[in-house]
């Protein structure tokens, strides 16, 4: 594709994705995942209550050290704790289910066929093995890259500690570089019903041919998430100047923003995948 064609494809894909907003049921997989995330947030906020305190207090102590077990200092660490547990538990263990279901529902919508949450979830569950493995592979690659980025050299780390916000922004853009090849694995698994290896090959090939477009499908909507993460850098200021309640409200807003961002990304990727393969 030449540049004009690529820009056309980009705009067409986003328009398809934004048009699908009027079909409310397409939000259901993301809303279900958001409910789980809200549940995680609630669990964290009430970590001190038995019986969950027995599990969460040692976990918080391990992740954020002793100061996080005090009020209101706990809220300084809450965004980071939520992000870690979400990133290490919810996303790799169950995020694949909702992405798979959403892909099936978007495909149904674009093909003007049925869009049912129940059958989409069932369809994703039936392909749970390959979905889980490709999702885990993507998760591991991104974690490894970020770990290398952080510990590459003492000078990088020194620079990162001088400017944590710049470090966050650069890490964001670098992580998308490595997420991009895995962009179409969910579609390959649930729509084309390929095996794990076939799905990875197909996704890598399609992403390689359309790397810039695919990168932008992720990066542009994710800027909203990046903005929220930058706000969370000021968690101590929000807690001390306003209140812990304000920070929790901002985190709930972040969960809602994530619903919107994921909706646009999965909708765009599915629309482009169908256009490229059909």
């Amino acid at each position: 594709m030449d540049l004009v064609a690529r820009i056309n494809a980009l705009l067409w894909t986003w328009i398809q994705s934004l048009r699908s907003v009027k079909r409310i049921s397409l939000f259901f997989p993301f809303l279900l995942f958001a409910i789980l995330q809200a549940g995680l947030l609630l669990l964290l906020i009430f970590f001190y209550l038995p019986p969950i305190s027995g599990l969460l207090i040692p976990l918080i102590r391990q992740l954020s050290r002793e100061p996080a077990l005090h009020y209101p200092q706990f809220y300084f660490f809450l965004p980071g704790l939520f992000s870690q547990i979400n990133g290490w538990l919810l996303n790799p263990l169950i995020g694949w289910l909702f992405v798979g279901a959403a892909t099936l529902m978007f495909a149904g919508w674009y093909r003007q066929g049925p869009v049912r949450t129940g059958s989409a979830l069932g369809g994703a569950l039936r392909r749970m093995g390959p979905l889980f493995v490709v999702g885990l592979a993507e998760w591991m690659v991104v974690r490894l890259v970020m770990w290398l980025f952080r510990y590459l050299s003492a000078s990088v780390w020194h620079w990162a500690t001088q400017s944590p916000r710049l470090f966050l922004v650069l890490g964001f853009f670098i992580s998308i570089v490595f997420i991009t090849p895995f962009a179409y694995t969910a579609a390959e698994v649930v729509l084309a019903r390929r095996s794990i290896a076939g799905a990875l090959r197909g996704s890598f090939a399609l992403a390689r041919r359309n790397y810039g477009l695919t990168y932008l499908f992720f990066a542009v909507p994710s800027l909203l998430t990046l903005a929220m993460n930058l706000v969370f850098q000021y968690a101590p200021v929000i807690v001390t100047r306003a209140s812990p309640g304000v920070l929790v409200t901002v985190m709930i807003v972040n969960i809602i923003v994530t619903v919107v961002v994921n909706f646009i990304i999965v909708g765009s990727l599915t629309a482009f995948y169908l256009r490229a393969t059909e």
Partner: protein
């Protein structure tokens, strides 16, 4: 094959496992901190504006703190409570601080007896928790003192010293507020007019502080204690003893590049209080020899110049003033003082033209200094003193223009207060009593928190009483002093004048 039933058993097992895990009181501590945080926020809203204290709101805040105590009674925080030692200590701190806040609120509501009862209970319940116990004991003494129950306050202060010594194992970081208790009580006796008891207590304080020095020689605590000994002599106006104590203090301070402040205080007491100019001069000259290169020597050289001035050796004085200005150009504070003293030396000699030149030099080179503020008023004062009415009139107008300009440019600055003060002084020098009274009224209205407010009120009272014949206004002004600072020396002057004016009234 894994079924839903297997997931169910896994979940039940997880819950049982979590229930068995102990959190060693971390959850309880978190809840207590949460309650304390919110109660504390409510408490701070009461403290922001003490002028509008709301008793009803205070009761609500007390209720918030009480809920913490009810949730975590002291009996549940003993050593067998099962809490981790650090958690237990933190819970004791939170509950102790909550109880102290309740007592404080009782006192602010006017319920002194309730406040006393709470403090006493805290002292009893928190015997092992030193920081809470000592705060309760200190607050109890302060409450007694504020309620004018002085004998009980003294007993409480003595108990503080006995039960909570200022340090336990190491003398490196003593609790200075406790170390100062004997001297504080003695000074309080003095301000209450009980010189005999004050004398006894000052000696008690010195005996106590000397024992501290004997026990912990060559430590920061010993220096602190010796400093307090000096203060006791100064408060009793026993200048020779104060000088001797300062000499001991100077020896205690480890040698460094700068002369210790104790030597400066010593020299000042010798010259100003004992009239021993030779000894003062000797101290400063020793400083010049022992600490060459120290930036603090500018003060010593200025002081030597002032001593020469006092002796009448004006040429010698001017040499030292000149040295300060030339050798310490970055020390604006001392430089301005030296320049002012230089100008005064010419004035004293009768060479007004040279003096005027030097005064103007201060305004140009040290703007913003206290000396620069004083110059226009001083020039006016000179012309008034020597009967040069036309020049006085010109200086008066110029002074008002300069001071009004300072006040207008930055009304919230400390300089504006100085400007307003000198406006009033300029009117006083020109016997413009109505304008002087108006200027002082403006000063008192605009800068009610200033430390100079009491002299301003005294001056205003005098103008109303002696120059304007407004006796009611004079009485009101003197009564304001009694209300603002009932234990200050100005209150004594005001009380005497109120008594005299009330007798003279028909």
């Amino acid at each position: 094959m894994v079924t839903n039933r297997h997931y169910g058993w896994l979940l039940i097992g997880l819950i049982l496992l979590m229930s068995c895990a102990q959190d060693e009181g971390v959850g309880d501590r978190y809840r207590a901190e949460q309650m304390y945080y919110h109660a504390g926020r409510m408490y701070r809203t009461l403290q922001i504006d003490p002028g509008t204290f709301d008793p009803e709101r205070s009761r609500q805040v007390r209720g918030s703190f009480r809920r913490i105590i009810e949730a975590y009674p002291v009996s549940s925080l003993d050593q067998d409570s099962g809490y981790d030692a650090d958690v237990r200590s933190e819970l004791l701190t939170i509950t102790g601080m909550s109880r102290l806040s309740i007592a404080d609120l009782f006192f602010r509501e006017g319920q002194t007896d309730s406040a006393v009862a709470v403090y006493r209970q805290v002292i009893q319940d928190y015997q092992e928790h030193r920081s809470i116990g000592s705060r309760a004991q200190y607050s109890l003494a302060m409450v007694y003192q504020s309620a004018d129950r002085w004998p009980e306050a003294v007993t409480a202060y003595e108990a503080l010293l006995e039960k909570y010594p200022p340090f336990q194992q190491t003398p490196e970081q003593p609790d200075e507020s406790i170390l100062n208790i004997p001297g504080y009580v003695a000074a309080a006796y003095l301000s209450r007019g009980d010189s005999a008891r004050a004398g006894d207590y000052f000696q008690k304080a010195r005996d106590y502080l000397s024992s501290v020095i004997t026990r912990w020689p060559e430590t920061p605590t010993a220096q602190m204690a010796q400093n307090h000994i000096v203060n006791t002599y100064i408060r009793q106006q026993r200048w020779s003893s104060a000088v001797a104590a300062l000499e001991s203090l100077a020896v205690m301070i480890p040698a460094g590049d700068d002369p210790p402040d104790a030597l400066f205080v010593m020299a000042t007491l010798c010259s100003d209080r004992l009239g021993d100019l030779d000894r003062a001069l000797g101290i400063y000259e020793d400083m010049l020899q022992q600490y060459p290169g120290s930036e603090k020597l500018s003060r010593a050289i200025l002081a030597i110049g002032q001593l020469y001035f006092q002796r009448g050796d004006l040429d010698g004085a001017r040499q030292f003033f000149g040295r300060v200005i030339e050798e310490y150009p970055r020390d604006a504070e001392t430089g301005a003082s030296a320049q002012y003293a230089l100008a005064l030396s010419y004035e004293f000699e009768g060479d007004w033209n040279k003096a005027l030149n030097e005064f103007r030099w201060i305004v140009d080179n040290y703007p913003g200094s206290p000396e620069a503020f004083a110059v226009p008023n001083h020039i006016l004062e000179h012309y008034r003193q020597y009967g040069e009415e036309e020049l006085a009139q010109t200086a008066y107008q110029q002074a008002l223009r300069i001071y009004n300009d300072i006040v207008a440019k930055n009304p919230d600055s400390p300089g504006a207060f100085q400007g307003q003060w000198y406006i009033a002084q300029s009117h006083i020098l020109m016997t413009s009593w109505e304008q002087a009274a108006a200027a002082l009224e403006q000063l008192i209205q605009d800068y009610p928190q200033s430390q100079q407010i009491l002299p301003a009120l005294i001056s205003l009272g005098e103008i109303y009483e002696l120059h304007l014949g407004k006796i009611d206004r004079a009485l009101g002004t003197y009564q304001t002093i009694l209300r603002l600072a009932p234990r200050s020396p100005y209150a004594g002057i005001a009380a005497e004048r109120i008594g005299r004016l009330q007798k003279a009234l028909p």
